[in-house]
Amino acid sequence: MANCLLNHWLSVLVLVMWLGLNVFLFVNAFLSYEKGDKYYYTREILGSALAWARASARCLNFNSMLILFPMCRNLLSFLRGTCSFCRRTLRKQLDHNLTFHKLVAYMICLHTAIHIVAHLFNFERYDRSRQSTDGSLASVLSSLSHQEKEGDSWLNPMQTTNMTVIYMTLTSIPGFTGVIITIVLVLMVTSSMEFIRRSYFEVFWYTHHIFIIYFIGLGIHGIGGIVRGQTEESIKENHPYRCAEFFEKWDDHDFHCKSPQFEGNSAESWKWILAPGVLYFFERILRLYRSQQQVMITKVVMHPSKVLELQMIKRGFSMEVGQYIFVNCPSISYLEWHPFTLTSAPEEDFFSIHVRAAGDWTENLIKAFEQQNSPIPKIEVDGPFGTASEDVFQYEVAMLIGAGIGVTPFASILKSIWYKFQHADHNLKTQTAGHAALNFDKATDILTGLKHKTFFGRPMWDKEFSTIATIHPKSVVGVFLCGPQALEKCLRKCCHQYSSLDPRKTQFYFNKENF
């Protein structure tokens, strides 16, 4: 439990800070529109819906600003590199970029919903007060029109009684852009559902690029100045607290209260999204540049069960264990980049990936390499990314469990351990590494020279854990998993069951590494 908290305190801190900022911005904007004198007359017509709309708009700006940062993976790599003196838990936080991106996206959806509902009420109220003839303050304010000689004194954007809310929405810039970017948001969300992402990745990948429309639309959304407040000078002449109740007399020339003047708020979204937009643009340029560097394929191995191994060299490429690269094959698809864990050790003079056929792109890749007669397809590589899996080396005894293609990160680690043994690396605490391979149809001897057990079929975890606990008393065992969720639950249970607080017995620490 303490170990769990120790590993996750930074995530919790980041989340709390983010939520706190959201709450602060929301409340701050809400109060300024709900209580501010400037919007007294606007509130006469709109009520609290004004404040709700503006507060959620502020949060939308904030979250739209944040959402692009986690996607700048080269920037994150740079941060990771420059902070190499930082504790690893800090740097590992950067690996949770996708989770953060999703959280921010959910928050954007929530605030979009609040914003739209509030504006529905706003438009309805503007419409109603424009239509009303009861001579109330709201209707008087609504009748202040564009044609007033004293400049821009209009408050209600719906100027004629024939105008419907739908017409208003679709013909004004904020309304039209609002509808467009909401539709874009809905499309992005539905195509990013986990089921769609895992089964039909291309739908997700290509659809998600309409975020460009979202950002452009968001930038333009505030133009038009429909949200209006009283001008500074007008407040001096007509302060709401003094003059609001005498609104029938505003037209009298001798009366001390004149008609109020209003001005629209200028667009402010662009101020929030300009910096991340530019940063992300540079990120994409950088990815393009890095991908243009030549990658030489030195060896191609076709393994059973349709697994392709590619060994490559690229100038200036250096990696650490557990990192991953993005691979693109222009002859299959110009635009798609797919991540693969590196299976080679840093000590080797090449880097390699193992690709399993798991969808359109991977199958096409394997087919392209299987053909003996045609030239080898060109490959582009971006990376490496991810925090190195150094934790494995900190445990005296490490249990690495990989299911299916999930053994790939462990291949890298085990090979590296092997090299470190050979070079008598004293920083290596690991004395023993046991490795369980699931669902293989043959024995895999990854490394000879290390004591390992080879199994056929699904291991019985209880037996495994009790055996290890008996063989290695008084030691701390790190259990590392790269595999499906069901296996994670089972292993966590076993870790708790076979761990003992007694220092004479074994302690198992479960780590779900982010591979």
């Binding site: 529905l120 069960s305 299916g404 043959k442 079929g457 699904r458």
Partner: protein
């Protein structure tokens, strides 16, 4: 792109549109907006509810296993009853298009109209590619066999050729996603002895 089942995305989109329609209908009714009676409650919430119920059971994928939505088996039975009307995606495409039109007259539900119309378009695309809605049937639960997959270890010593080269039938594993790190003998960069220090 060849293996994309557009109907799956259309399904997500239609479900989302249904929810948006319901929300818009509730807002318009609760706020007593102008012309809310135009169907805010009767059409949009009803249309929204109808769309949600129809789209909730996820169809079966052509290849691979499909993740069911929580509790969808009850609605699957109901949707199955309509036979070809629910199987055929052309029917769904035009149904959704029809349902989306009345919602376009009220601002609160116009977003639902747009989203449902897009879902209808994607369903049309799916239908032209011959996709069909097949219900996910529940299979009887198999008792997990502990230790059942452990078979006899091989009789010949390493290095052993891969399973395909061996004559004896290799074990049938479900989800045999073997990621063989090396096939056959490993080429060790440095000569290796049997014992580790």
């Amino acid at each position: 792109m060849g293996q994309i089942e557009w109907a799956m995305w259309a399904n997500e989109q239609a479900l989302a549109s249904g929810l948006i329609l319901i929300t818009g209908g509730i807002v318009a009714t609760a706020g007593q907006f102008t012309q809310w009676y135009f169907g805010a409650y009767s059409i949009f919430s009803v249309a929204g509810v109808f769309v949600c119920l129809l789209e909730y059971p996820r169809g079966k994928r052509r290849k691979g296993s499909t993740m069911e939505r929580c509790g969808q088996k009850y609605m699957t039975k109901v949707v199955k009853l309509f036979g070809p009307l629910s199987r055929n995606y052309y029917v769904r495409a035009f149904l959704h298009l029809g349902l989306s039109v009345p919602a376009g007259f009220l601002l609160a539900t116009i977003l639902g109209t747009a989203c449902l119309a897009i879902a209808s378009g994607i369903y049309l695309l799916a239908a032209t590619r011959g996709e069909q809605w097949t219900p996910i049937e529940s299979k009887p639960k198999e008792r997990p066999q502990v230790g059942g997959t452990i078979k006899q270890p091989p009789s010949n010593p390493p290095p052993r050729p891969p399973a395909e080269a061996r004559k004896k039938p290799s074990e049938e594993q479900d989800e045999a996603a073997g990621a063989g790190v090396s096939s056959g003998p490993q080429e060790n960069p440095i000569p290796v002895t049997d014992e580790v220090v």
